[in-house]
């Protein structure tokens, strides 16, 4: 599908594209959340042989909207012995990283006719930055503050336990997740999300999950486990384990503040699924060239929805982990496996790269010589 490069008055398509991307991606994520809640409840009901939501709207589709209105109209309870500033800031601190992470999600590659028959591939992404994947890692690591501070500021034992569990859990699983992501970066040869997705064009065999067999596959599995733990979803939902901690970190939160935590969970589920799609499962690429007539964003959305289904399926199938089992899994199983996959991938890559493709060290000027030319590549060595 080729789009002509048009301009309306002083606005050119390429200049406006990032803003269109912001509005579209944020809008889709925020509007999709109610339907995601419905999707999860229906899927859970199917797995547990129940009916699920079926009262509000056709097939219960409007149930989440009814819940939203209910939460919106509830009294905003302010517990007495709280640290007010932090208590009110916590849901916001959790929401910001979840939404800001969408900025580097590569949704599709648009083919734009630049005039004169020259067609260029322009990624549909808010910020096509070189350190995209590092930006994502940074934001996901910041998200834990919302939970920890909510637990602490509530001045409630159970909330605090939830916050403490969350911080320990996030730090433990972040290591494995980062190792797995680094393996993906090594396979793709770039930290730019768009480049990572472009490097997987072709068939299923070109996706990162199928490269460096079985190393890519192992790293993918490690990432998928760590990603469930990072979003605090079952079976890793110890920060809000209702059978022991009431509701964990959000026990003291009511009405819209609670709704924000709830929405965050679903927004970060979508974002993390999007990252998994881009990093391991080819992003917008179709599984076979014969299916290339389907637009890229359709593939992207299909894959993300499939991941959300995995989330729900895992939640319905696996019981919650015991705390020591959670830590043992993170530190004694996932981390060594992820580390081994990373080292083996690096070794394999170094061995199979032919000698003539290994570039020499480019000469880079020392940082304080401000007036010298920037960088000279040299293969003289």
């Amino acid at each position: 599908m080729v789009i002509p490069n048009f301009s309306i008055g002083p606005l050119h398509l390429l200049d406006v594209l990032p803003y269109v991307a912001i509005v579209t991606i944020l809008g889709v994520i925020l509007l999709l959340t109610p339907f995601l809640v419905w999707y999860e409840r229906v899927a859970l009901a199917l797995i547990q042989d129940r009916l699920g939501p079926n009262r509000v709207g056709p097939r219960g589709l409007l149930q989440a909207f009814a819940d939203g209105i209910k939460l919106f109209l509830k009294e905003d309870i302010r517990p007495s012995a709280i640290d007010a500033t932090i208590y009110y800031a916590a849901p916001v601190l959790m929401m910001i990283p979840a939404l800001a992470a969408c900025a580097v999600l590569p949704v599709a590659d648009l083919r734009i006719d630049m005039g004169g028959g020259r067609i260029e591939a322009i990624p549909f992404v808010v910020g096509n930055v070189n350190i995209g994947i590092l930006y994502l890692l940074g934001l996901t690591s910041l998200q834990v503050y919302g939970i920890v501070l909510a637990g602490w500021a509530s001045n409630n034992k159970y909330s605090l336990m939830g916050g403490l569990r969350s911080s320990a859990q996030t730090i433990s699983y972040e290591l494995s997740m980062t190792m797995a992501v680094l393996t993906g970066v090594l396979i793709s040869g770039s930290t730019n999300m768009v480049e990572i997705v472009r490097s997987q064009a072709g068939t299923v065999a070109d996706w990162n999950i199928a490269k460096f067999l079985p190393l890519g596959f192992i790293a993918t599995v490690v990432y998928l486990i760590a990603m469930v733990a990072e979003t605090n979803r079952a079976p890793f939902d110890l920060p809000e384990a209702e059978s022991e901690l009431v509701a964990g970190f959000h026990t003291e939160y009511s009405s819209m503040k609670f709704a924000m935590f709830f929405m965050c969970e679903y927004a970060s589920m979508l974002v993390i699924s999007g990252v998994a799609t881009a990093l391991w499962f080819g992003g917008w690429n179709s599984p076979h060239p014969a299916l290339n007539f389907v637009p890229g964003f359709v593939w992207f959305i299909l894959k993300v929805v499939a991941f959300v289904m995995v989330y729900v399926w895992v939640r319905a199938t696996l019981p919650r982990l015991r705390y020591d089992a959670l830590m043992a899994l993170g530190w004694k199983r996932l981390l060594p496996i992820a580390l081994a996959a990373l080292v083996l991938t690096a070794t394999w890559d170094a061995v199979r790269t032919p000698a003539d493709k290994k570039s020499g060290w480019p000469v880079i000027e020392a940082p304080h010589d401000a007036d010298k030319p920037v960088a000279r590549a040299s293969n003289a060595r």
């Binding site: 920890v148 403490l164 060290w361």
Partner: protein, 170 residues
């Protein structure tokens, strides 16, 4: 350029205000949070200088991992109540004053010496992953050894912590 320097001054004011809060706030949790603010400001400074990789790593390592651990320990130990240990000043106050005066003086001296007013220091190398990797791991440069030595040092720290924890448990 004008917009850049306005951004710099706003951010610098924020950064210093947060840094003062780290020392002045009596609530350890808020202190730690202010330190997170300082880290994030520093990261934005790095981004503004074109050192994207360093900026991102600053957030991932300091704000995302080390400070979370700090908060964890603070919450685990005293649950955020003002610590009576902070009231014991003794010798630490004059020593701290002297040390900060020396640091401020040397920074001001270096600043006056190196950066003429009005001359923006523009980094000639953008801090991309490739360039930092090439600079760090180039065998022809003196930094590879120091880099590897630092990683061994960190490893020694980790092993040491494990050994200490092991001894206490039996």
């Amino acid at each position: 350029m004008q917009g850049n320097s306005i951004g710099f001054w706003i951010l610098a004011a924020l950064c210093i205000a947060a840094a003062v809060q780290v020392v002045a706030n009596r609530n350890p949790v808020r202190s730690a949070l202010a330190l997170v603010g300082v880290m994030c400001c520093l990261s934005v400074f790095y981004f503004a200088q074109g050192a994207e990789f360093v900026g991102a790593v600053q957030v991932i390592v300091y704000a995302g991992a080390i400070m979370v651990l700090f908060l964890f320990v603070i919450m685990l130990l005293n649950l955020g109540a003002p610590n009576p240990m902070m009231d014991r000043v003794g010798l630490s106050k004059p020593v701290a004053l002297l040390a900060s005066a020396v640091l401020l003086g040397s920074l001001a001296f270096a600043g006056a010496l190196k950066i003429a007013p009005g001359r923006a220091v523009k980094s000639p190398v953008s801090g991309t992953v490739q360039q930092i990797g090439y600079a760090l791991f180039d065998p022809g440069r003196p930094w590879l050894f120091a880099f590897e030595l630092t990683s061994v040092l960190l490893l020694v720290g980790v092993v040491g912590a494990v050994v200490l924890a092991q001894r206490r448990s039996d």
